[in-house]
């Protein structure tokens, strides 16, 4: 049975002069997972926003259970039974998990007062029903990215029901959280819900979806049953021109060509005896880690094991409670800010919206922000050189149509490309890359990893922090798992995956 049908949906953004959707048709049946896939900027998120009432189409029709629907807000979509899990957190950081889920539908007590205990109780029931373990009274700002994603999902489930739209839900989840999410999505499907699953990860789609619609430049390129194609073919459809059979792939399915062969040089980033207290299980306990020039060291962790804290410490966002962080032999805190950030350390943060970008500034300004003071007064005033530099950097990562645009008009993947183009263009000696492939399609991910490998080959020390073991397997020369704040070395043995899964669950301790 058809739950939702979109017919000839068109959407044009005047601010970016972009035809985001151009006559898109989509059907979602009950009890199916319908994947919407495509490159960064293909229109996937716009389609999701229209389906969920955040935006209105310029033309076209939307039908819910056969009835014509016209959503003027997301609340209308929720009333029609459509829940939404956004790509970026839309939670109120100062409220608790339970308050976020209840927001706008708060249980009342004595008239106007919110019944917080009841909200908390209802949250617990919902979380228990779907197998989540988030503390209802935890303030969202203190939750890990994975926990926040769980709260987003619970919020969507609390309102929606018959249809759920998931916009790149695994971009910041680790393996374990991803597996739980997949199990949940399958349970929902089996209970009769329809799921729109937006992603550009071929493996996920092949594993999960029943039907696939491929978007390219805002139009439907192809729609087919997922069983009709294999993962490799699917990857080629998501990114046009992507090679189906990758000659570099090893038997284990990993790209081996990006690993370095040369011996690493001097220690460039040293984390020595670092302990850092953090909320929940995010603390670090006497972490020792050295990254030498010319090597990529990865640290992989599931959510809540201290990866975000390690990112903060390694990037100099916080000073550790105990221990030192040395960059090129000098304590991180003693580096002059401008020199450190513009020449010595490149940093790709997990939280790209708050740390990696100034969303309301232009794309070009974001691209050259790190080298602003390298320009002379007259060069910057004339504008030509910064613009040419921005063009070079952005072009290297495939960001097009950026002139005169603000960053917040770009798609999520293109925003990540802007961060990568700025941070990886200056030949930094130390790179801290935290979940650098989040939101990137296969082509952009491969370009990013090639760039990281090239920097390593030219002598940079790269610390890769990721929730995705595939990143480490593909790129790293040495790897560690972070489990409950302690580093566990991962040996390259007979089975990389097995070593990782043991380390990530603490089985090697």
């Amino acid at each position: 049975m058809n739950i939702v049908r979109l017919s000839s949906i068109r959407k044009y953004y005047r601010s970016s002069a972009a035809q985001a959707l151009d006559g898109v048709d989509l059907e979602l049946d009950s009890g199916e997972i319908h994947a919407v896939v495509g490159e960064n900027g293909a229109g996937k998120s716009t389609l999701a926003r229209i389906l969920c009432g955040f935006e209105r189409p310029d033309s076209g029709s939307l039908y819910v259970k056969g009835e014509r629907a016209d959503f003027s807000s997301h609340r209308d979509a929720e009333r029609a039974g459509i829940g939404f899990v956004p790509q970026y957190s839309m939670l109120a950081p100062g409220l608790t998990a339970a308050e976020n889920v209840a927001l706008g539908h708060e249980p009342r007590r004595l008239g106007p007062f919110t019944d917080r205990r009841r909200a908390s109780y209802e949250f617990s029931l919902l979380a228990d029903r779907y197998g989540f373990a988030v503390d209802p009274d935890a303030v969202v700002a203190s939750l890990s990215a994975a926990e926040r994603r769980e709260v987003e999902i619970l919020r969507a489930l609390a309102r929606g029901g018959s249809a759920l739209v998931l916009d790149e839900p695994t971009s910041i989840l680790g393996e374990k959280e991803t597996a739980s999410l997949f199990a949940l999505v399958r349970r929902l499907r089996d209970s009769g819900a329809g799921i729109v699953y937006i992603s550009h990860r071929a493996g996920e789609i092949a594993d999960l979806a029943d039907r696939v619609t491929v978007l390219r430049s805002g139009a439907v390129e192809r729609a087919f049953a997922a069983a009709d194609v294999d993962e490799c073919e699917l990857a080629g459809l998501i990114v046009s021109g992507a090679a189906c059979a990758d000659p570099d792939r090893t038997e284990g399915g990993r790209t081996a060509g990006l690993r370095g062969g040369a011996a690493p040089g001097e220690p460039a980033l040293v984390i020595r005896g670092v302990s850092q207290r953090a909320r929940g299980s995010g603390s670090l306990l006497r972490v020792d880690l050295t990254v030498r020039s010319g090597e990529i060291v990865s640290v992989i962790a599931l959510g809540g094991n201290g990866l975000e804290t390690l990112e903060d410490v390694a990037a100099g966002i916080v000073s550790p409670d105990e221990g030192d962080v040395l960059v090129k032999g000098r304590p991180l805190a003693r580096w002059p800010g401008r020199e450190l950030r513009s020449r010595v350390m490149a940093y790709l943060p997990t939280d790209r919206e708050n740390r990696g970008l100034s969303p309301k500034a232009s794309v070009a300004m974001n691209a050259v922000a790190g080298r602003l003071f390298d320009y002379s007064f007259s060069e910057f005033a004339a504008g030509a050189r910064p613009l040419a530099d921005a063009a070079g950097m952005l072009g290297g990562f495939g960001v097009a149509n950026w002139k005169g645009r603000r960053v917040d008009t770009l798609s999520g993947g293109n925003r990540q490309r802007v961060v990568a183009s700025r941070e990886l263009s200056g030949g930094a000696e130390v790179v801290v890359a935290a979940n650098p492939a989040q939101g990137l399609d296969r082509g952009a991910r491969s370009r990013l990893f090639s760039r990281l490998a090239a920097m390593r080959d030219s002598g940079s020390a790269v610390l890769l922090l990721s929730s995705d073991p595939d990143d480490a397997a593909e790129l790293a020369d040495r790897s560690f798992a972070l489990y409950r704040g302690r580093l566990i070395p991962v040996e390259r043995g007979e089975s990389f995956e097995a070593a990782f899964s043991k380390a990530l669950t603490g089985a090697r301790q």
């Binding site: 990037a315 800010g337 450190l340 740390r355 794309v363 300004m365 790190g370 602003l372 320009y375 504008g383």
Partner: protein, 355 residues
């Protein structure tokens, strides 16, 4: 335009294309102000035609009236520039009124002494002293922000209110000119005032200073590295820090710079048409400056137009209240609605996007 001129002399911009929106905001503000003024004259006055004539024509009816309206706009533009400097760094300082008042008082206090010593060369020094007084009033907020991360919105308004009470007391008490019915300091010697450019109008060199300040600020924000860093800091402090900008300096310097501009604006009022410091003379300028900055979309190049619009509303409503029975507060009410109308544009744009 000669062929090739554009190619050779075209200056490219690294900013987004949002600048055109400032013109739209100005037109929207002007249209809503004119409509509201007409409605106010029609419904609040028993002599609508006199009120309309007074509101629309009196401020521009003669050359002298037009130039006097420009003079009224000059300190407002400088004050609004202070608002832009502070707001674009993400510091929501609401202390403009007290800073301007302190500037007026300090300039009126220093001008006679300096004039006696230096003659006409005292004028820029008097303005400098006014600007310094504004900076001094802004300093507690700046220091609080830098050292303790104190909320500038609260500290600036608290300090400003204290200063307003103190200056009120000083002008009405020990420094009052007892020979005048006005609660004011002694009238300044003519040579200690800003030179008049086109008598009999009140237009002084303040208008040129204000225009130059707006253009310089536009250049600073659009074409300098420090201006770009200032803006990026205001939009996302963590991002600015991670790009290696001097965030310690940006946490206090724009607050002091805004104080300097507010103080200078106060000094211009005292050394301009008023000719001395009068009790309550800066009343409402802080609010009007925030309104003008909003109407200009925080773009300094649009500020002269926004300031003239607000000066017209002040002058027009005053004239209409004298020449007809329009309530004297009509101008303030219209200003409030214009600010609301202009501030509501993002919400309207968001609604239009949805459609």
């Amino acid at each position: 335009m000669r062929p090739g001129f554009r190619t050779r002399f075209h200056i490219e911009t690294i900013h987004d294309a949002g600048g055109t929106k400032a013109a739209v905001r100005l037109v929207a503000a002007l249209a809503s102000a004119a409509t509201l003024a007409a409605l106010a004259a029609a419904f609040l006055s028993s002599e609508p035609s006199s009120a309309l004539r007074a509101f629309f024509l009196a401020p521009f009816g003669t050359e002298a009236a037009f130039l006097s309206t420009l003079e009224l706009a000059a300190p407002l533009a400088v004050c609004a520039l202070g608002v832009i400097v502070s707001f674009r760094a993400g510091h929501y300082s609401l202390g403009g009124e007290g800073q301007a008042y302190a500037g007026s008082f300090a300039a009126a206090l220093a001008a006679p002494v300096l004039y006696e010593a230096l003659g006409p060369a005292s004028v820029p020094l008097s303005i400098l002293i006014g600007a310094s007084a504004g900076a001094l009033v802004a300093a507690p907020s700046a220091i609080g922000k830098r050292l303790a991360g104190a909320d500038v919105l609260l500290t600036s308004i608290l300090v400003s209110q204290g200063v307003i009470f103190a200056v009120d007391w000083a002008i009405g008490g020990p420094f009052r000119d007892r020979s005048s019915n006005l609660v004011a300091m002694e009238a300044l010697p003519r040579g200690a005032l800003l030179p008049r450019l086109a008598p009999p109008s009140t237009l002084t060199a303040a208008s040129i200073v204000a225009l130059a300040a707006c253009l310089a600020a536009a250049f600073y924000f659009d074409r300098t590295r420090s201006g770009a860093a200032h803006d990026l800091y205001g939009r996302n402090q963590r991002f600015a820090e991670l790009q290696g900008f001097d965030v310690a300096r940006l946490s206090w310097a724009p607050i002091i710079a805004a104080g300097v501009l507010h103080g200078a604006a106060g000094a211009m009022m005292a050394l301009g048409a008023r000719g001395t410091a009068i009790r309550g003379m800066s009343g409402g300028i802080g609010w009007s400056a925030i309104g003008a900055a909003l109407v200009a979309g925080s773009r300094p190049q649009a500020l002269p137009f926004a300031a003239v619009l607000f000066a017209w509303l002040d002058s027009g409503s005053r004239q209409a209240s004298i020449l007809s029975d329009l309530p004297p507060d009509a101008g303030q009410a219209i200003k409030a609605v214009v600010i609301l109308a202009v501030s509501a544009r993002p919400a309207i744009a968001a609604l239009r996007r949805r459609r």
